[in-house]
């Protein structure tokens, strides 16, 4: 198979993320499936940033520990990645800043000649890369015309100069004709929420979901969407509940530290039955930890966050397509069942860029929200119903007082301390949990992939899905991936692991959080492969770790 990795490195501020993305677009135009990993420390200028843009002729979502091309805008980009460089690695570098073997490009001089700003160096770079990789210049032109919004002609001239300044080294064949949209996980979550009917998004910036805020703020003009960035995460959560109470489908986004501050409001959502969706992007913890790196340590926290017991929906998509679909589903089900929901993702998925398969955009229809009660004059927000879901109305509603309440309350929403009413409402919420379970049971909450008769399976969740899929294929293993965690799809999971003798959990946490959850449901999990340094598994690393345990 064709499988190419391009490492682009430079300092923060050099636009390495954009450069890597343009390279992904070149591959995309050449008919490849692509994935891009972006590695950066928590600083604004300087330091060392790099992307690994990978292209293959089948769907991928993990980086490899190799480097067929290395584009260096800084000395570190070569020095820090020596282990990835082989004799076959084609090295291109900015000769004004880097010394090394390979082909230098006089980026600075080219820009100077064109009186172009530093940011246009990227065009120069991808021009050079295209030439070295034997990619025709018209592909570069297409990419620049489509992806660079400003000063296209000048960028083209610079790209051409880059193209002309190096020689072809290792030629990449065209892989096909299809060309997918390239998006990162944050964008796909945003689009999924919009598909689900998002009216408002409220967030305080926090990596790795800040870019979801930026993305939605950017498209708020073109969609019927209000985006608010308030004073802190407590305000975020409570404002969102205000929006929902007034009838607007609302989501918030954060990471672990911000989510902590939202938990009190989350419990309020549970008690008052005002729906809200939280996009919770995990990063390396505990506490501030490694803000720009990844982790999967907050599954059990989101499952149990907030005092008291109340039904909640927790989904953890693992691929770009799942991010889109399940974000839409989460918003719809949160509203249908009037529960708080969490979309649990991580830095890898949020900030990774993927070839998005837009034929997989079919969102299952979750059906309508319960119809309003017929006699308006009798409206009671918490009317006891068979399935525990009360008709939800929003002010203004003529001849009704719509009352929601954080206290134990009666059907009309008025505070009660009576034991029997408290019990009735607790039971109503329990029936609602059943109703939610009924909804998710009709969805594919647990996915399986890979060799079907296999006796060994990798058990994974979230963004490790794609690396697991790729490695499992090599080993002839099955892959089992729960997507929904609350309500827990015990039956579906049991079915998915039927016949498996050796179930190996692969998780970016120490405790084996999914594994423990399986144990709780009586599903034994053999070994556990952990990754704790904030870096996602590469294909090679997971492969090697698997050989150790299997």
């Amino acid at each position: 198979m064709n499988d190419i990795s391009v490492l682009t490195g430079g300092r923060a501020g050099d636009g390495i993320n954009s450069a890597g993305l343009l390279i992904a677009h070149l591959f995309n135009q050449m008919g490849y499936q692509t994935y891009m990993y972006f590695d950066y420390p928590s600083l604004i200028k300087g330091g060392h940033n790099f992307t690994i843009t990978r292209a293959a002729d089948k769907k991928i979502g993990a980086h490899r520990e190799r480097c067929d091309y290395l584009l260096a805008l800084s000395q570190d980009s070569i020095d820090l990645h020596r282990d990835l460089i082989t004799d076959d690695t084609v090295i291109l570098f900015d000769s004004g800043r880097v010394h090394g073997d390979g082909q230098g490009i006089a980026v600075g001089e080219i820009l100077k000649a064109e009186q172009a700003p530093a940011v246009m160096g990227n065009s120069c770079l991808i021009g050079a890369f295209a030439r070295a990789a034997g990619i025709p210049f018209d592909v570069v032109e297409t990419v620049i015309r489509r992806q660079i919004p400003k000063e296209r002609e000048k960028n083209l001239v610079i790209a051409r100069k880059g193209y002309d300044s190096v020689s072809e080294k290792r030629s990449i064949p065209r892989a096909g004709d299809t060309c997918c949209p390239l998006l990162n996980g944050n964008e796909l979550i945003g689009l999924g929420l919009l598909h689900g009917g998002l009216d408002a998004y409220v967030a305080y910036p926090m990596t790795p979901t800040s870019n979801l805020l930026h993305f939605l703020a950017g498209v708020a003009g073109s969609f019927p969407l209000t985006v608010i960035h308030p004073e802190n995460e407590i305000a975020v959560m409570l404002m969102a509940l205000g929006f929902s109470f007034a009838g607007k489908k609302t989501a918030v986004g954060t990471s672990g530290g911000g989510f902590c501050l939202m938990t009190e409001g989350f419990s309020l959502a549970g008690s008052s039955e005002v729906p809200v969706v939280v996009v919770m992007g995990q990063r390396t913890g505990p506490s501030t930890g490694l803000p720009t790196y990844t982790g999967q340590t907050d599954l059990r926290f989101v499952l149990h966050a907030g005092q008291g017991e109340f039904p909640r929906l927790v989904v953890a998509p693992g691929s770009p397509e799942q991010a889109y679909v399940w974000s839409s589903v989460a918003l719809s089900l949160a509203w249908k069942c009037q529960v708080p929901a969490v979309i649990l993702v991580d830095k890898t998925l949020c900030e990774g860029t993927y070839s998005f398969d837009d034929t997989a955009m079919t969102v299952p229809d979750t059906g309508d929200e319960p119809a309003p009660s017929p006699e308006a004059g009798q409206y009671r927000r918490y009317a006891i119903t068979e399935n525990g879901i009360s008709p939800m109305q929003f002010p203004p509603m003529k001849d009704a007082a719509i009352k929601v309440n954080s206290y134990a309350h009666d059907e009309a929403g008025i505070t009660t301390e009576k034991a029997d009413m408290v019990l009735l409402m607790t039971e109503k919420r329990q029936r609602k949990a059943q109703a939610l379970k009924y909804e998710t049971d009709s969805l594919e909450c647990v996915k399986t992939y890979g060799t079907s008769g296999a006796r060994t399976a990798l058990l994974c969740w979230g963004s490790t899905l794609l690396v697991c899929k790729e490695v499992a294929e090599r080993h002839g293993f099955r892959v089992v991936q729960p997507i929904v965690f609350s309500p827990f799809p015990e039956e579906q999971l049991r079915e998915a692991v039927a016949g498996i003798r050796n179930l190996i959990a692969v998780e970016e946490n120490a405790e084996g959080q999914l594994r423990l959850l399986c144990h709780q449901h009586g599903i034994p999990v053999g070994s556990h492969i952990a990754k704790l340094d904030g870096r996602p598994f590469s294909v090679e690393e997971l492969d090697a770790r698997l050989r150790e345990v299997s």
């Binding site: 489509r146 060309c179 997918c180 949209p181 390239l182 998006l183 964008e187 689009l191 919009l194 598909h195 009917g197 408002a200 498209v219 073109s222 019927p224 969407l225 209000t226 608010i228 308030p230 004073e231 407590i234 305000a235 975020v236 409570l238 404002m239 969102a240 509940l241 205000g242 929006f243 929902s244 109470f245 007034a246 009838g247 607007k248 009190e264 409001g265 309020l268 998005f356 837009d358 004059g377 009798q378 929003f394 002010p395 203004p396 509603m397 003529k398 001849d399 009704a400 007082a401 719509i402 009352k403 929601v404 309440n405 954080s406 206290y407 309350h409 009309a412 929403g413 008025i414 505070t415």
Partner: protein, 283 residues
């Protein structure tokens, strides 16, 4: 079907002599005034925190969001931004708005969303049995400070003026018609309106005598004069025995936050089509 007098059948559990009764009727009357002016009753929403004050959410027969301690203002802001046609009122406690959730109060003023915040300032945590709050006098002996506090109170009026609030008023439960009038004005002010209500707590901080003796109604004060408002605010520091002005201290019309957000008319293009169009740009 809300009752004519706007009072629910919920059993009232305030202490005898509690100022909240006055506040409840003053607010009820102000709301009736709004309705008489043509505001549909169903367009009014009350948001409360947690504390004695917050029980008003159970007692008034109007839309309400009985939220959590300290968080009335973000909830109200969300409601108002979601539907600017609604009239949104916060009934907050002093523990609520001045301690647990003080930041939201200042940001409410800064943002100038058109909501009204009424602080039931009894200068004590009532519902949790009488601990000191940010407006309790220096030396206050509550159950968490049996030797007396060592913190002077802050002045919420000065804070609101410094935060950019466009409507800053003070009243008291000792003056029902005045209170009702001030609340009526606050509800009609376009922008963030703040009313500090010196409320009697019959059980833990009954300073009726002080408010009756030192309280006076503003007259001849120009609420458009910011400097004058600041000086009035400084007259009484919530600690000493000084004259206490009741009335509208400051009023300024300025652009409200929600103006900025265009109301979305239902689009003819489906969301799915919009999304697909967007995806095209990413190919």
């Amino acid at each position: 079907m809300p009752s004519k007098d706007l009072i629910t059948t919920a059993q009232n559990t305030w202490c005898p002599g509690c100022g909240n009764f006055t506040l409840q009727f003053a607010l009820r009357n102000a709301i009736k005034g709004l309705v008489a002016d043509g505001v549909p009753l169903e367009n009014i929403v009350l948001v409360t925190g947690i504390g004695c004050h917050a029980k008003i959410g159970d007692y008034l027969d109007i839309n309400s969001f009985y939220s959590i301690h300290g968080r009335t203002i973000p909830v109200a802001t969300g409601i108002k931004l979601a539907n600017p046609d609604l009239t949104v009122i916060c009934c907050a406690g002093d523990g609520d708005a001045y301690a647990e959730g003080l930041d939201h109060l200042i940001f409410g003023a800064k943002r100038n969303t058109d909501i009204t915040v009424i602080v039931h300032n009894n200068r004590v945590y009532g519902l949790t049995t009488g601990q000191y709050t940010p407006t309790s006098p220096l030396g206050f002996r509550g159950r968490s400070t049996p030797q007396g506090t060592s913190e002077a109170p802050f002045n919420p009026i000065s804070l609101m003026l410094a935060s950019g609030a466009g409507f800053v008023a003070r009243s008291t439960t000792r003056k029902m018609p005045h209170l009702s009038g001030i609340i009526g004005q606050a509800l009609r002010h376009r922008g963030f309106s703040f009313v500090d209500v010196l409320q009697i707590c019959a059980s833990y901080f009954n300073v009726s005598e002080l408010y009756d003796r030192q309280g006076y109604e503003l007259s001849g004060h120009d609420p458009a004069d910011f400097q004058a408002a600041c000086r009035k605010a400084e007259e009484w520091d919530y600690n000493s025995d000084a004259p206490i002005a009741f009335g509208l201290l400051y009023k300024e019309e300025k652009p409200v936050f929600e103006e900025h957000f265009s109301r979305h008319s239902p689009s003819s293009v489906s969301r799915e089509e919009q999304i697909r169009a967007f995806l095209e740009t990413k190919r």
